[in-house]
């Protein structure tokens, strides 16, 4: 049974879940992780601060098209830049890039676990794994996760959740790249145009942002690790090419904290919405669009830094901003 989700879409979603629970179990997560696979892995070794020692063009440090963010130890952020085809290391304090490494293709998703950096490569349709030095290690998911727009990692279980834009679903991989299952949603909760993803390790939930379909609604869909829909926060409705009516309409990257708050970047609004997981309500709106005197244009992702502050990949301004 879903957690308490308020909203216009609740009834429909709940009904769908109730009626189709068996379908969710078998179809949404086509190959659920086994119990063994869910056993917590050993904690990653001491946090490794990424220090790239790969040759790079210093021009790249002037980022051109930041897409996704990931938190890294040592007060650092990782930023994928789809224009330069690099992953940048950005200092939280200065919000400037000081190192970079090249990806053989267009990087979108980025995440870090221990001393490994995972990058969704939209050219090769793979997840490329690099060491903390930026040296290439291995790839996985060849073709299984086309157009990997975002990823999230459950550190403890060693699961990598990848948004596959090409198949409009979420692929779940082990750290070594074995496909564990697929989250699709179904019925009215079928993922339509998924973009961003986050995992709530405490709740063992997967949160996926979705532009929705023409005439549908934008949303953040919440699944458990079995792939069953457990909640949905609905944004704007009657969506089309110009956006949606009311609410958020271009939900991109998102982050969750330990207190039940969800941070969601709305690319069109130019702000970060802070949503309460329990109620679905927006409790705060952070930052402002450049046209309104703010620093954000086309925010593509949000990540919580080492001190819990939300950092935003502001694509239109080619910068990383902190919003309060």
């Amino acid at each position: 049974m879903p957690d308490t989700i308020r909203g216009r879409a609740f009834s429909a979603i709940a009904a769908t879940v109730l009626v189709g629970i068996a379908l969710f179990t078998s179809a949404c997560f086509e190959r659920a992780p086994t119990q063994d696979q869910r056993e917590p892995l050993a904690e990653p070794s001491d946090p490794v601060v990424p220090v790239f020692d790969q040759p790079f063009d210093h021009t790249w440090l002037d980022m051109r098209s930041p897409i996704r963010l990931a938190s890294a130890p040592g007060g650092k952020l990782l930023v994928s830049d789809s224009r330069w085809h690099v992953v940048l290391r950005v200092d939280e304090e200065s919000r400037t890039a000081d190192q970079a490494f090249l990806v053989d293709g267009k990087p979108l998703a980025v995440g870090m676990r221990g001393d490994q950096i995972f990058v969704g490569n939209a050219t090769t349709n793979t997840v490329d794994v690099f060491g903390a030095s930026g040296g290439f290690s291995y790839s996985f998911g060849d073709g299984a996760a086309p157009y990997p727009t975002d990823l999230a990692i459950d550190d403890a279980l060693g699961l990598v959740f990848v948004v596959a834009g090409g198949t409009r679903d979420v692929k779940v991989f082990s750290l070594s790249g074995e496909l564990q299952g697929t989250i699709t949603g179904s019925g009215g909760a079928r993922l339509q145009s998924p973009t961003g993803i986050a995992v709530d390790e405490g709740r063992r939930e997967v949160l996926v942002s979705d532009y929705g379909a023409v005439g549908g609604h934008a949303s953040v869909k919440i699944f458990d690790y079995d792939g069953s829909l457990v909640g949905e926060i609905t944004g704007g409705t009657d969506c089309g090419v110009t956006g949606c009516s009311g609410g958020f309409s271009r939900p991109q990257g998102l982050a969750v904290d330990g207190t039940g708050l969800i941070y969601l970047a709305d690319a069109l609004l130019g702000q970060v919405l802070v949503l309460d997981r329990a109620s679905g309500e927006a409790v705060a709106m952070l930052g402002a669009h450049a046209s309104d005197g703010g620093d954000l244009r086309l925010p593509m992702d949000v990540v919580l830094g080492g001190r819990g502050e939300p950092y935003v990949a502001s694509n239109g301004t080619a910068s990383v901003e902190v919003v309060r």
Partner: protein, 626 residues
């Protein structure tokens, strides 16, 4: 954006706006009322339009309008929407073209006026030209309509362009790739600067002042296999400032570091100063670790020939005394290798065209080495004058050595090679990157045999000497790759006859050595005691000064110590330069100072006086009679 979506847009704006006005803000589920009201409604006119602007242009909030486009067309946005794939990578309207204040918005070419008519991608039916004023009609019903090259100038590119090199709206400049999909090369993500296509797509023809280069990779020697793809090009070329007026080349050991790039602002094919900049670039790859560790950086997987940079620093060809006038790169006078793309000569030597009289690669000497090693330099070693002497085919000899295909010189010249069938090049003996006056030769031309010359080229002794070992590397009947055999094995395969014919090691008493020169019965005579390697004008054996001699025989034979020349004082004038001996025709005593025999420099055999041809009976490889 699909045409279908485009045509829906205006209707949606109106309908959705109306719906929104009639809908409660609470339709945004879970958002508190205050927060919801704080949001601008995306689907209302005032999202993109400032309601109180003065005119139509001023009505548009460009940032908002662009964000609307990019929220779907940026990387990271959904790949598909309602089953249709959304084009990506239209991320940046910035670059060398279409920059502020010209434009900063998608709306310059796309807006919802394009929903009317048959134009694709929200391209409107007409557009105001901001430079000339007035509206121009646009037809954009196919991707061939960007600039189709006809006289109507109604392509979406043509209606505005007034200062471009091609496709101006008044037809004042020529067409360029008409009816092509312009954004293949002039992409949105580069502000429409030409960067979107592959390198070879564009540079297979002239591009402004840049020559066509793709075909150069088809030449006999080249970098990368033909056709080279863009990845091959960017091994060398730093594209960070493409079309900014310079050619930038990576330090390939530090790829990506634009600060270390070599920047050319002129043509290194014609400018010695520009060419001199390239030595560092060349050597960054032509070393033991290739391009940052990759010794075969191109797609053809050819291993980079390594140059010992330390040896090159000390090499005679590294004319640092001439400053910037000498480089790896150049036109053949101030540098050796022309065009990093390809040459019809070996090793991309300059000039890159084939000399008129020879097939590809055959004229290394005539077309290259002798260009500098001539009478007017820059080398002080003039070989061209001597090698320009008529080739003296050995037709006067008799017996076994009357082979008319036997040349009087190493067969480095095309004509000599054609005559004899043999072939050897300067670089078979000399490494231009390492050669010095102390170490003029390659260390071991034929590593497959037992001859290892060593490095002390001026040493020779009775039991062995460096240069003889070097000569025998070829003259043992086996050859390094590229050196071709001669039709006269008696000459070529000296090694096999060395023991049999004695070569000075004969123990019989009939050799009648003349006293005073140091040579004794049983000695092995070094090659250089009797022969030189190059054509030299003072090799006047058998004729007047400047006449080539047989097999590079020296004027005066070295003594055993190797530090002096021997003169048969009873039979020569005081000047050895005109001391003309004969070998093949000792009856030729036209020179008043002649009358002795070259062989008699060492051998006392007055009985030979009057014999017209020592060589008719005595030679290498003739049953021990030499």
């Amino acid at each position: 954006m699909s045409g279908g979506y485009g045509r829906m847009l205006l209707v949606r704006l109106l309908v959705a706006g109306a719906l929104t006005l009639g809908s409660p803000a609470a339709s945004y589920i879970g958002v508190s009322a205050g927060s919801a009201l704080a949001q601008r409604q995306h689907d209302t006119c005032d999202y993109c339009h400032n309601l109180h602007g003065a005119g139509y242009e001023q009505l548009v909030d460009f940032a908002r309008a662009e964000d609307l486009c990019m929220s779907c067309h940026q990387d990271g946005a959904p790949l598909t929407y309602n089953g249709e794939t959304i084009p990506k990578g239209v991320a940046v309207h910035a670059g060398t073209k279409h920059v502020s204040p010209d434009t900063t918005s998608c709306r310059d070419c796309h807006d919802h006026e394009g929903e009317v008519g048959n134009n694709l991608s929200l391209i409107p039916l007409s557009m105001d030209n901001r430079y000339t004023g007035g509206a121009r009609s646009i037809v954009f019903e196919d991707t061939t309509d960007f600039a189709d090259g006809d006289a109507t100038y109604d392509g979406v590119c043509e209606v505005c362009h007034t200062g471009t090199s091609y496709h101006r709206q008044d037809g004042g400049m020529p067409a360029h790739n008409p009816q092509r999909d312009c954004v293949t090369c002039h992409g949105h993500d580069t502000g429409f600067a030409a960067a979107g296509g592959s390198c070879t797509d564009c540079h297979n023809g002239t591009q402004g002042s840049r020559r066509a280069v793709v075909a150069e990779f088809d030449r006999a020697s080249h970098h990368a296999a033909s056709p080279a793809d863009s990845a091959d090009c960017t091994v060398c070329h730093d594209q960070s400032q493409h079309q900014a007026g310079s050619v930038r080349l990576w330090d390939v050991d530090d790829p990506g570091n634009t600060a270390a790039s070599i920047v050319l602002s002129g043509d290194p094919n014609t400018s010695a100063t520009e060419a001199a900049l390239l030595a560092r670039f060349c050597l960054s790859c032509h070393d033991s670790d290739g391009a940052a560790g990759d010794t075969s950086p191109f797609s053809d997987a050819v291993t980079v020939p390594a140059v010992d940079s330390a040896a090159w620093t000390a090499a005679s060809h590294n004319r640092s005394d001439l400053g910037s006038e000498v480089s790896c790169y150049g036109d053949g006078t101030f540098g050796c290798h022309i065009s990093g793309h390809g040459s019809e000569k070996l090793n991309m030597l300059a000039p890159d065209t084939v000399a008129a009289t020879a097939p590809a690669n055959a004229e290394q000497e005539e077309g290259f080495c002798l260009n500098c090693h001539d009478s007017d330099g820059p080398s002080s070693v003039d070989l061209n004058t001597a090698f320009s002497q008529a080739i003296n085919w050995v037709q006067t000899a008799t017996g076994l050595n009357s082979n008319p295909n036997l040349n009087d010189r190493h067969d480095i010249q095309y004509a000599a090679q054609q005559q004899s069938g043999a072939k050897i090049e300067c670089t078979d003996c000399h490494d231009p990157h390492t050669a010095t006056s102390d170490l003029p030769f390659v260390l071991d031309p034929d590593t497959a045999d037992a001859h290892v010359p060593g490095t002390d080229w001026y040493y020779y002794a009775a039991t062995s000497d460096t240069l003889s070992e070097f000569c025998l590397d070829c003259h043992d009947g086996s050859f390094p790759t590229g050196v071709l055999d001669h039709t006269s094995p008696q000459i070529v395969n000296i090694q096999s006859t060395w023991a049999a014919d004695g070569m000075g090691a004969r123990t019989g008493s009939s050799v009648d050595l003349r006293a005073g020169n140091g040579w004794a019965i049983g000695d092995v005579i070094p090659c250089q005691a009797c022969h030189t390697t190059h054509m030299e004008l003072d090799d006047d054996i058998g004729g007047a000064p400047g006449t080539p001699s047989l097999f590079r025989v020296v004027d005066t034979v070295r003594n055993k110590a190797g530090d002096a020349f021997l003169f048969f004082k009873d039979r020569k004038a005081s000047d050895p330069e005109i001391y003309a001996y004969g070998i093949t025709n000792n009856l030729d005593k036209s020179d008043v100072t002649s009358g002795g025999y070259w062989c008699n420099t060492c051998h006392v055999r007055l009985s030979m006086t009057g014999k017209e041809n020592c060589y008719g009976c005595h030679r290498h490889g003739d049953g021990g009679r030499f």
